[in-house]
Symmetry: C2
Subunit: 416 residues, 2 copies
């Protein structure tokens, strides 16, 4: 282990962020660097040049993940990967995954300058399409061997553009993505720094989050069916009002979480559609979504069971029918205890205000976890905002996060 | 008063209904006789010919209301009007207002055949556009003097067609509608038979409703504003979820009605729209409609006050803002006691199963009430259905309703 004298340069991180923010920037202040767009490729080119400038060996795999390698002493030892992604949602802020890649770049720059050789290769990786323009997390899924010819063939973006066509237009061969799979034995671990995208650290005035788990989630689309009736002529006791079923359900959500959930449980009704949707008609049908998350799959199962019971009880009580469609079931990920301890130790050693916490959002780390131990470092999101130009993190906190990443890498890839 | 030997002919009513049902009928089984369409005019022509066949003096006023007159003994005595409308919503059933016009036609046919002269003129009237294609109840509003040049100029249908253009295309001069106003002194009363459009009579297995009041209503569009947040990263206690405000409100509706309403009160949330409306985002904004009805304006005011209190309390509790837009406030109408008594007497004399009740829907009678005493007769709607091809009333009940109308007219327009 190095003697912890290495210090990241906030100035260099700031300069990098500023430069990359201009790639894909629009007049509305938002960044439009969507996966496999011209701007995305320009960003990748910029990043690769920066990696080379820092003395890293660069390459791109078949999924167009950009990799910068700091060679270690033992070429066959499993590599330590760090990184995130630089693609964005439309009208994004300038941080999100980009911050994880650029703080990672700064860490490797510092280590390179110290000229001490790590015990294993350290790779900085920027994954392709983390934001799911084409429906998944293409880059990390390719690395984890979760891509098939069918994935490549059938993936389209919300506008109907095919992944294949988008890649070909950029001179890429989409079938090469099948070659991007890495032997799990070749990866010793993966560390990802990301903005929290939630309000917890910001509210608590803490600088760093040491992520212990990434929540799983399930998403259902639920429909209550009753009878569409005239709002004036149908007495209240003669109604079978589908929306009142939804309201009853929403009212039960806090109880369902209290009784069956943990303090990490979340449940959100994000969309509601009433049919016929006319102000003077009792809704005959109500369709809504529920998004439920927890870091423990047992808890997720209990929540799902409790929800089914409540739906059935409401339907019985109100003379409604109900049906639900399972849109997704994503298992939670527990971060690797050894990696988490080293991140925690680095945060403690740096004297930062930090907490152990969970990630409520999905990240590349969740995918990589299927083939290697992972851990994550969060920095605060001002007002919990992300995916908008209002997304921000105080410079001090960015430096703190980068410093924790550097400390963790030093602890993991250098001999004591 | 006649000696109650007059009896309507269900056969003739049935034959008339069958003929008129073919005008505007579509392949989907629905009737499309929307106001000021070709089919509507064809229906009016058919009706006028039928009136003439029955020996009535026919005319059309400037709003294209079709009128058939049975002359009374005293030409200056205020006339008794009966009727309803024959225009339909798109894909309508064959009854609705048409039943009121055709049973009225049968009543005058019977009276004409008895060759006894009523004390005052009896007019059968079919009002134009009761269904509000052009945004109001054009025919009865014109008769009541509620139409202005601006109404005529600015009225459009949901597809953007202007009332002026629609009338001109049929060879009608829209400005003539301003001439359709009748001197209130010239109208002694208005009786309207209509299907109930609700489930009350049908459930109770009753044949006739003697309408005492027509409900008033108010319609608000209400918006709760909170904060759109990530469904995974935002802990439950840190949310300002606009939809949960709507759910809280819906949950309070029964209590609001119990505490501040009457057994005639109704409240309906018919439309809900969430922004951004994405399954994985806590709704930042929720807009919904509430339609509230009662036959007593004092009760309506109390309900409105209670709703405001609940909205304010929910907003405070959940850290939301709220605003509401009053879309309409329509005063309730109390039917004329003398007319109601005569209708009641006719129902009792006929030995029918009937009840006093309110109308939860709006009708031409509501408009006419601003210039003359009104009452209404309801017949049951099978399963409460209306405005669809499934709309139906048993023949026995149609005959019962027509017979009550005839009895009421005899009581009101013939000397004892």
């Amino acid at each position: 282990m190095l003697t912890h004298e290495s210090v990241v340069s906030g100035k260099r991180i700031s300069a990098d962020l500023k430069e990359l923010a201009e790639i894909g920037r629009s007049d509305d202040g938002g960044v439009y660097r969507m996966a496999f767009s011209e701007a995305d490729m320009e960003g990748k080119d910029w990043l690769e040049a920066k990696m080379q400038e820092a003395g890293l060996e660069t390459s791109r795999d078949g999924a167009c993940n950009v990799i910068g390698r700091l060679r270690g002493r033992e070429p066959d030892a499993p590599a330590l990967l760090i990184g995130s992604h630089i693609d964005t949602v439309p009208c994004a802020g300038i941080l999100d995954g980009t911050l994880g890649v650029l703080t990672g770049l700064e860490c490797l720059r510092v280590l390179k300058q110290r000229e001490q050789v790590p015990s294993c290769d350290i790779e900085l990786i920027a994954f392709s399409d983390e934001e799911g323009r084409f429906g998944g997390m293409f880059g990390s899924q390719a690395l984890a061997g979760q891509i098939t010819p069918d994935t490549i063939h059938s993936a389209t973006d919300p506008g109907g553009e095919r992944l294949e066509d988008a890649m070909k237009a950029l001179g890429l061969d989409p079938w090469e993505a099948l070659q991007a799979r890495r032997d799990p034995q070749s990866i010793g671990g993966y560390l990802e720094l990301h903005i929290e995208q939630g309000p917890v650290l910001n509210k608590a005035e803490e600088q760093v989050g040491v992520v212990e788990a990434i929540t799983g989630l399930f998403k259902w689309t639920i429909t209550f069916s009753g009878e569409p009736n005239h709002a004036g002529t149908t007495p209240m006791p003669m109604r079978r009002d589908a929306f009142m079923g939804v309201a009853d359900f929403a009212h039960e959500v806090p109880r369902i979480l209290d009784e069956n959930g943990s303090d990490r449980s979340r449940a959100t009704i994000g969309r509601v559609e009433l049919t016929p949707g006319s102000p003077n008609t009792v809704p005959g049908e109500a369709t809504f979504t529920i998004d439920v998350r927890d870091t423990d799959e047992t808890v997720m199962n209990e929540l799902a069971g409790a929800i089914r019971k409540v739906l059935a009880a409401i339907a019985r009580r109100r003379g409604l029918r109900f049906s639900y469609q399972v849109e997704s079931w994503i298992k939670p990920v527990t971060c690797d205890a050894r990696l988490v301890e080293q991140v925690d130790a680095a945060a403690a050693a740096g004297g930062f205000r930090y907490r152990r916490m969970e990630s409520g959002a999905a990240h590349d780390a969740q995918i990589v976890a299927s083939v290697a131990p992972v851990a994550m470092i969060f920095v605060p999101s001002v007002d919990g905002k992300s995916h908008s130009p209002a997304e921000w993190t105080a410079w001090d906190d960015i430096e703190a996060g980068a410093q924790v990443m550097l400390g963790a890498v030093e602890r993991l890839a250098f001999d004591a």
